[in-house]
Amino acid sequence: MTSLALREHEAAATAVAAVAVESAAVAAEPGPRDISVRRLAKNFGERRILDRIGFDVLRGQAVALIGANGAGKSTLLRCCLRLIEPDEGSITLLGEKAETLNRRALRRLRARVGFVFQRHNLVPRLSALTNVVHGAQARASGPAYWFHSVAPRRVREEALHCLAQVGLADFAAQRVDTLSGGQSQRVAIARALMQRPALVLADEPVASLDPSAGEEVMQLFVDLLKREKLTFLYTSHNLRHATHYADRVLGLREGRLVIDAPAAQADSVALRAIYDR
């Protein structure tokens, strides 16, 4: 390592420490919390993927979680809904302690949380409208919510309204496997809106899109959530997306939370440091 690189590294480490101090202030901020994570840990086999993670997300806040590939971002989001079972720690979502819930109560909690995946995870061969109607399974089950053709009128209308919000009303009848990547991700957002969520999680929602489509979809997504004043926790490896769209930035490095700072104060040297190996 050259002395210059070393000095830069040290500077980054100092910045990380400074930011970490600030996180205490964020945690002390008053107001209701939609997400509270305490000492969350997850191992895959012998490997510790998440190491005693703790943070809060205030109601109405948009929080970005950044980190290099393999840092554990997706695992952390999945643990929040127990799509992956955490090994230790506690997660409180919308006032519910996730780890204490039985199957039914867990389903009710999941219903209130929108989740947008990196790969849109739409059901191929089905229409955009049907995929959005599926979002209604958050509050009702049964064959009426499996296909738009058999769904109640008000459900179909609401689904169309959700599609209109993402600008895809004209594509309602089109099969989702014929849509572009950006359009697909917007249908996935509409499906999440159809849940009438109180909180939205998104795992690198635009990482699979080209930069301009990604920018467009991210802007639309954030605008929709801001308008509804929804709490938003999303992962990203795009630093600009993190600081531009979020109120707060969390930084994950090798399973540890090393940054927790207001987006305005998170300076780029510190953020970039979490990508250092």
Binding site: V123, P124, H134, Q137, A138
Partner: protein
């Protein structure tokens, strides 16, 4: 580095001599085959003595006797109806059973193992034995054959439907789970729609299979054209038998053609 240094041993031997254990296994396999030939009473002599008989029979088949064609066609339609209804009935019953027979969607490991065992049982018992069983249960006639074919279909489709569902992309399933859908909701919203092409493919293949199977069920009185063939043969009416065989051939070929046409449609439709 010289060439010799890279390949010091030159060409490998054409045949590697087998190890002791492998050699013993070969010998044992050969012994089993010899014993089997002995037990089927195979004899070249018997075959040669039978040749004139076969030639005689073939000669008597021509020209085929078309006098009973209306009855034969009626039996042929009955045969195909058995295949069609048996397949449809089997398909309807396969889907729920297949869902119970998937690791991912079965409500309980016990249910999973029981369903798989049932499907395997349906598949391993030959259809002729099912036909015999149903002839005793519901009496002679095409209904017995239809039930036998339905069981056969469940044994076949149950397995392949379950495999297709296990292999379906997990992403959409996770999305439905994440929004709080029930297990049934996940299966019917995310899994079944994705599996439709595979299901149709399997269903068409099953129809071909049951059509072929339906032809012989008549031999045990379970309906269809098989009984016509048996009677014609037993009465030495080889020219009538020829007509029946040609009819069967045309039916099977027609179903296979139709099935492959439909299959192409499915592939084209994604």
């Amino acid at each position: 580095m010289t060439l010799q240094a890279v390949a010091p041993k030159g060409l490998p031997r054409r045949f590697e001599p087998p190890g002791v254990l492998a050699f013993l296994l070969y010998v044992a396999a050969l012994a089993v085959l010899v014993a089997a030939i002995d037990s089927v009473e195979a004899s070249l002599d018997g075959f040669i003595r039978g040749l004139p008989g076969i030639a005689n029979m073939l000669a008597q088949m021509f020209p085929p006797d078309l006098s009973r064609l209306p009855q034969i066609l009626r039996a042929l339609i009955e045969t195909f109806a058995m295949a069609l209804v048996g397949t449809a009935l089997g398909l309807i019953l396969s889907l729920p059973l297949a869902i119970l027979a998937t690791r991912r969607f079965s409500p309980h490991p016990l249910v999973y193992h029981a369903s798989r065992a049932l499907i395997a049982f349906f598949r391993t018992v030959p259809d002729l034995i099912w036909a015999l069983f149903f002839v005793i249960a519901v009496g002679l006639g095409p209904f017995a054959g239809t039930l036998a074919l339905a069981i056969d279909t469940i044994g076949f489709c149950g397995r392949f439907f379950a495999e297709a569902m296990e292999e379906a992309d997990h992403g959409p399933q996770e999305a439905l789970t994440a929004l709080g859908a029930s297990r049934l909701g996940v299966v019917f919203s995310a899994v079944v729609p994705a599996c439709v092409p595979s299901f149709i493919n399997t269903a068409l293949f099953t129809l071909e299979k049951t059509t072929r199977a339906s032809v012989v069920l008549g031999l045990v009185g379970a309906g269809g054209i098989g009984i016509e063939l048996k009677v014609a043969m037993d009465l030495f009416n080889y020219d009538q038998a020829a007509t029946i065989i040609v009819c069967i051939f045309l039916l099977v070929v027609a179903v296979e053609r139709l099935s492959s046409l439909l299959r192409q449609q499915v592939i084209a439709g994604g």
